[in-house]
Subunit: 307 residues, 2 copies
C-alpha cells in the first residue's frame, strides 16, 4: 500500500501546495480520496494512470476537496473511458451532482455509481478481493466522512521443505496458504501450522479530513498503520481551529496516539505556514512518528521514514 499526496493545502492553495487529494495504491488498484482543484493536473504530473482510478471518495462538500471532480470526470470521458466510476460522497451530493453536470453541459460516456455517505457509525462501503473500505463520520461545519482502507488478511506463506516432505500436490497449495490442513497419502493429518508461517501483516490507511477533535474518532481508526489527519493549525490557534471545525497539530497527534497508529501524516496546512516543520515538531511531542504531507511525494504504508 502506497499513498501519493496530490494536495496538502487547506482551502487556500499556495505555489507549493494544491488543495486536498490523495491517491492510495493498494495492490495496483488506485483509490482517489478527495479531488481538489487541479487534481487532474497533479495526477498527470505524477504520472498516475487515469484509467486505473475506479473509486473516488469525497470526504465533504467544501470546494477545496471537490472542485477538481468535474474536470477529472470530464477528462475521463474525453479519454474514452467506458468503465463505471464509483463515487462515494455525502448523500446530499447525489441530487446536486446531476444538476451540475447539466449546468455545465457535461455528457459522460460511462456510468457513475453513487454511494451515499451518511449516519453516525462506521459503514463498510467497499469490499473487494484485497481490501475493505469503511467510512466513518467526522465533525466539521458540514457533514464530513473519514475513510479506512484495510487490507484483508493475506495468504500464509508455505514452508518450502514441507511440500517435498509431505508430497503436497501443487493444486492443494492455494488452500493450504489460506489455512487448510493437509492429509498425506498415508492418511496422516498435518496441521496447517506445521506447513505454513503467517504472511505479511495486512496494512491499513486512514484519511481524516476535515474534522475537529472528538474522542470517538480514534476508535474508528484503531491500530491503523498510517493515519492521515488534518492539522490545519498549530497549537497556538486552537480557538480558530474550534470555530472553523478544524484540528491543530495536537489534536491530530492525540487521535494518532489514542488510536495506537503506526505513524501519522499531517496535512491540510493553512497557507500561513511557509515552513510546516514547526507543526511536525509540535505533534511529535505527543506522537513521535509524525511527518508532514508533501505534494507529489509517495509514502509506503507501514514504513515510517523520519522526514
Amino acid at each position: 500500500m502506497k499513498v501519493t499526496v496530490l494536495g496538502s493545502s487547506s482551502a487556500l492553495p499556495t505555489s507549493e501546495r494544491y488543495p486536498s487529494a490523495h491517491v492510495l495504491n493498494a495492490h495496483e488498484r488506485l483509490f482517489l480520496i478527495d479531488c481538489g482543484e487541479g487534481t487532474q493536473m497533479q495526477l498527470r504530473r505524477n504520472r498516475i494512470r487515469f484509467g486505473k482510478i475506479n473509486h473516488i471518495f469525497i470526504s465533504h462538500l467544501h470546494g477545496d476537496h471537490v472542485f477538481g471532480l468535474y474536470g477529472l470526470l470530464s477528462t475521463f470521458s474525453l479519454m474514452g473511458r467506458v468503465a463505471p466510476v464509483y463515487l462515494y460522497a455525502p448523500e446530499s451530493f447525489q441530487g446536486m451532482f446531476a444538476s451540475h453536470l447539466a449546468d455545465f453541459d457535461i455528457h459522460l460516456n460511462y456510468e457513475i455509481v453513487f454511494i451515499p455517505l451518511s449516519g453516525k457509525d462506521p459503514v463498510n462501503i467497499l469490499d473487494d478481493k484485497y481490501i475493505t473500505v469503511t467510512s466513518f463520520p467526522l465533525q466539521h461545519r458540514v457533514p464530513a466522512f473519514g475513510f479506512l482502507f484495510a487490507e484483508k488478511p493475506l495468504d500464509r506463506n508455505i514452508i518450502k521443505e514441507s511440500i517435498e516432505r509431505y508430497e503436497i500436490p501443487t493444486v492443494r497449495i492455494p488452500a493450504i496458504k489460506k489455512g487448510e490442513d493437509f492429509v498425506t497419502m498415508d492418511g496422516v493429518l498435518i496441521k496447517n501450522d506445521d506447513l505454513t508461517v503467517p504472511g505479511p501483516a495486512p496494512l491499513s490507511y486512514a484519511y481524516c479530513s476535515d474534522t475537529k477533535y472528538f474522542k470517538r474518532l480514534s476508535s474508528f481508526v484503531k491500530g491503523v498503520d498510517l493515519l492521515y489527519h488534518e492539522a490545519t493549525f498549530d497549537m497556538s490557534l486552537e480557538d480558530l481551529a474550534k470555530t472553523t471545525g478544524h484540528s491543530t497539530t495536537i489534536d491530530a497527534a492525540k487521535v494518532a496516539s489514542e488510536a495506537g497508529a503506526g505513524s501519522l501524516m499531517i496535512g491540510h496546512f493553512s497557507a500561513r505556514y511557509k515552513d510546516v516543520m514547526p507543526l511536525v515538531e509540535e505533534a511529535r511531542k505527543i506522537f513521535p512518528k509524525t511527518f508532514a504531507a508533501i505534494d507529489g511525494h509517495s509514502y509506503e504504508v507501514g514504513s515510517y521514514a523520519d522526514s
Copy 2:
C-alpha cells in the same frame, strides 16, 4: 496593454497546457477572461496580484472555461477581499451561480455584480476611464461570447516648445492634451494642431473562444491589434471542428485576415498536439502574423514578435 496566457489547452489539459484563462493588463487594471481549472494556481505561479482583478469574463459555460471560478472566488474571500467582483457571463449562469455557491457552502464576503451576456449583436458591457469592453456572440454548442477590449483614444502629446512660446499655464495643459485650442495673453487663437501631436494609437485586444467560423465574426473585431482566436484543430480535422463547434487553424486565420487584425494568437489546442508549430505554420499561409499561445507567457498588444 499586455495579455498573459494562463491556459492554452482545450477541454483536456496536458502537463504543459492548462485550460483556458487569459489576463489582460490595461493600464494596470487586470481583466480575467475565462477561468479554467487551476487558474488560481496559474495566477500565483505568474505572480499576478489577485487583488487587482475586479472584472471576470466567462465566454461560455463549458468546464474548461469555468471550473476554476469557484475556487478563485473562494480564495478572494479567504484573502479578505471586500471589493466587488464584476462577473460577465452568459445569462443562464446567474441562476445556477447562486445555487452552486450554496451547494458548496461558499460564503463570499464581497459582492458579485453579475452582468448577463445575451443577444445576437455586440453590446458595450464596460466603459471605464481607459477602455471599453464589448461582448459579441460566437457560435458554439452552447451560448458563447467573445470580448473586445479597446483603449479609449489617448491624450495628445503637447509640443514642449509651444508651452514656452505661447506662455501656456500648467493648469491649461490637460485640456490642450484633450484637443482644446489655446488663446494667448495677446488674444491670438492657437489651433490645437499647432500645440500637440497625436498620442500613441489606442490599442485593442479581442478574445474569441470557443467558436466555429462564421462570416460575421470578423466584423465584430474589425481592425483589432491582437486577435486571440481558438484553433482547436489543424486543417485536416475540419469535419471534427464543424461537429464540435470549434475552429481550425484556417478558420482562425480567415477571421484575422477578414478583420484586418494586427496579429493573431491561436490557442485552445487539442491535447493531440504535442508540438503546435505545424498549426502556426498552417495559419501563417493565410495570415502571416500568427503565433501560438504558451502558458505563462505575456504578449504586448500591438507588437508582433515572430515566435
